[in-house]
Amino acid sequence: MLEIKNLVVQIEDNRILNGLNLTVNDGEVAAIMGPNGSGKSTLSYVIAGKEDYEVLDGEILLDGQNLLEMEADERAAAGVFLAFQYPLEIPGVGTMTFLKACLNAQRKARGEDELSTPDFIRAVNGAADRLEINKEMLKRALNVGFSGGEKKRMEILQMALLQPKFCVLDETDSGLDIDALRIVSEGVNALRAQGRSFLVITHYQRLLNHIVPDTVHVMSRGQIVKTGGKELALELEASGYAEYRAGEAA
């Protein structure tokens, strides 16, 4: 599904990713854990197509297509979805208007027909019910006045609606209370399917109790330094990132 080869990325002369290699298979849930500053969020932004980063080398292939040659919107239409760590508030843009515009833009880019309004509303309402999102929120401007948990749920609602192939969850657990963590995780788990893969970025093992990964990668100094099964997350929880930080200091 996703293959990253020797990815080297810098921002303002500051090297963040140093020849990163990563493969995520079809249907796989891969977790990336690592200390602060190891480059996890940068990786998520570079996959989604944020322009601030300079890619010096390497490639990111989604089903063989090189994402680095595409604009962010083209990547979205190709099936990439980034659930933001800090979803942005956009005053003046109604949530429903936004959802419909995104959905139809992606469908158009893929040569599909636009969704009819009744079908669209049905799809949104269904997803909102599953994520316990109050319908009143959908009437407001996008993310404006939403709590941290509400914003994260709105990200998952967008994911459910857009049905992407490859989902990147950037510290989706940050700022969530226990109930919100459960609801968000259930929302993600409901989307697990063949033909869809996840890259779950987190500092903490607790998210991985809810979204159980197939593989866990440890990231340090802009590279994947260790790969294992879900038990690797438990080991990290017990031992901390000290051994990887020592590597950073060296």
Binding site: F81, G92, V93, A105, Q106
Partner: protein, 440 residues
């Protein structure tokens, strides 16, 4: 000491000639103090950038020649011009149609004016010396303004609209100003709206003309909002691309009255909309919003003076400017809080979105506060569309131009969201969308 001779520009000399020529045909001289206004105007002339209030909008430079006052058009010409007018066209309203600044009765709904509202054409009012004329020019500062003085001096047509105490007509009145023909012309119209105690009234105002016509419309709207009355006003300037469009809104707001006024500018090579608000009674609530969406070569100036002379006035003034190409936006806003105007709560804001590096925005906010128990603030911002917001929208699949349009629409939309009249709000949003669509 050497004598100082004030050199007059060709346009100023032209205006004097036109005034002299028109003098004979002017009706009811005393009622509107036409002579006095022109004398004041002649003393100062067209304001240049040396005049502080016109520092960013140099009318002396912009008006090279004074266009002659427009004649009343033939009915056929008027009909043809009105056929192409789209501003607020879909809204159920009683229309007063002005073509080249002259009321066209055949294209107006004078026989369908809503109950509780009276309309007297300005030409009739002047001829008969209508008592309502006494209410003209309700804000003293406006009378000292050269644009307003020119309007008074050349006043050709308009209307007196009176809303009876307690009347709450559902149907708005639409002042539809349309330009006709392709020769240069000037207009000077004045509409007076007077709302009786407890009245509620919505006024729509649209200004349209053809591209390439060097017209110089000068329109004034004088409004006296009686005690506990509610006045709602939506204005649309989509003049042709060679128009120099000057306008003045003077509002006298009495006890516990409410005002909601919004002006959307997409047209004219140069426009200046002047708003004078006189808070005359206690506990008023006034919202004045403005939005300008400008392309290369355009300049739009919004100049506001809010004079609080009574207790507890709430004022909210919000202006948004979107600048494309090398366009220029100007906002000058001044809030005066007189010593008696304790508990005034005023907020004034001007925000600008620059879509290119070539555009410019001039903001000049001022507060003059003589009362000690007030909450007054102003702010101004200028910037490009937020890259993080653009990325967020693009990461959801919106192509860059669509994402940028959505952000621009959200930015400007805030000024029209507060419009109570649903049809007017939708029409203004439609104009914003049309501007964005034309931008591509």
């Amino acid at each position: 000491m050497a004598d100082v001779t004030n050199l007059r520009s060709p346009a100023e000399a032209g205006l004097s000639k036109l005034f002299e020529a028109g003098r004979k045909s002017f009706a009811s001289e005393t009622a509107i103090a036409r002579e006095e206004a022109f004398r004041f105007f002649e003393a100062t002339g067209l304001p240049s950038r040396r005049v502080e209030a016109f520092k960013y909008t140099d009318l002396r430079a912009a008006i090279a020649e004074a266009a002659p006052p427009a004649e009343a058009p033939s009915l056929d010409a008027a009909k043809a011009a009105v056929a192409g007018a789209t501003g607020f066209a879909g809204i159920e309203a009683a229309r007063l149609t002005f073509v080249n600044g002259h009321l066209v009765r055949e294209l107006s709904d004078l026989d369908r004016i809503p109950a509780g509202v009276t309309v007297v054409p300005m030409s009739e009012a002047l001829a008969q010396g209508d008592a309502g004329l006494e209410l003209l020019a309700p804000v003293v500062q406006a009378r000292e303004n050269p644009v307003y003085q020119l309007n008074t001096a050349f006043l050709a047509d308009g209307a007196l609209i009176s809303v009876a105490a307690g009347a709450k007509p559902e149907t708005p009145v639409h002042l539809r100003f349309v330009g006709a023909g392709d020769a240069p012309f000037s207009t000077a119209t004045r509409v007076l709206v007077q709302l009786g105690e407890g009245a509620e009234f919505s006024l729509l105002e649209s200004h349209e003309g053809s591209n390439g016509v060097t017209c110089q419309p000068n329109d004034a709207l004088d409004v006296v909002v009686g005690p506990q009355a509610v006045f709602r006003h939506s204005r649309l300037n989509k003049e042709g691309d060679a128009a120099v469009a000057l306008s003045t809104l003077s509002l006298k707001v009495e006890r516990e009255a409410q005002v909601e006024s919004v002006n959307l500018v997409t047209g004219a090579v140069l426009s200046r909309h002047q708003i004078y608000v006189h808070i005359a009674g206690d506990d008023t609530n006034v919202v004045v919003n403005g939005a300008a969406m400008l392309r290369s070569g355009q300049l739009a100036d919004s100049t506001l003076l809010a004079d609080h002379a009574a207790v507890g006035g709430v004022g909210r003034e919000q202006f948004k400017t979107v600048i494309d190409g090398d366009a220029t936006g100007v906002f000058q806003g001044k809030i005066i809080v007189r010593q008696v105007a304790q508990k005034t709560d005023g907020k004034m804001k001007s925000d600008c979105l620059l879509l290119t590096d070539e555009g410019q925005m001039m903001n000049k906010p001022e507060l003059e506060i003589f009362a000690d128990d007030v909450a007054c603030g102003h702010g101004a911002t200028c910037g490009a569309p937020d890259d993080d917001l653009l990325f967020y929208l693009m990461a959801r699949g919106l192509p860059r131009p669509v994402a940028e349009s959505l952000l621009v629409q959200a930015f400007v939309g805030e000024t029209v969201e507060a419009v109570t009249h649903e049809g007017a709000r939708a029409a203004l949003i439609g104009e914003i969308e049309a501007w964005l669509k034309a931008r591509g």
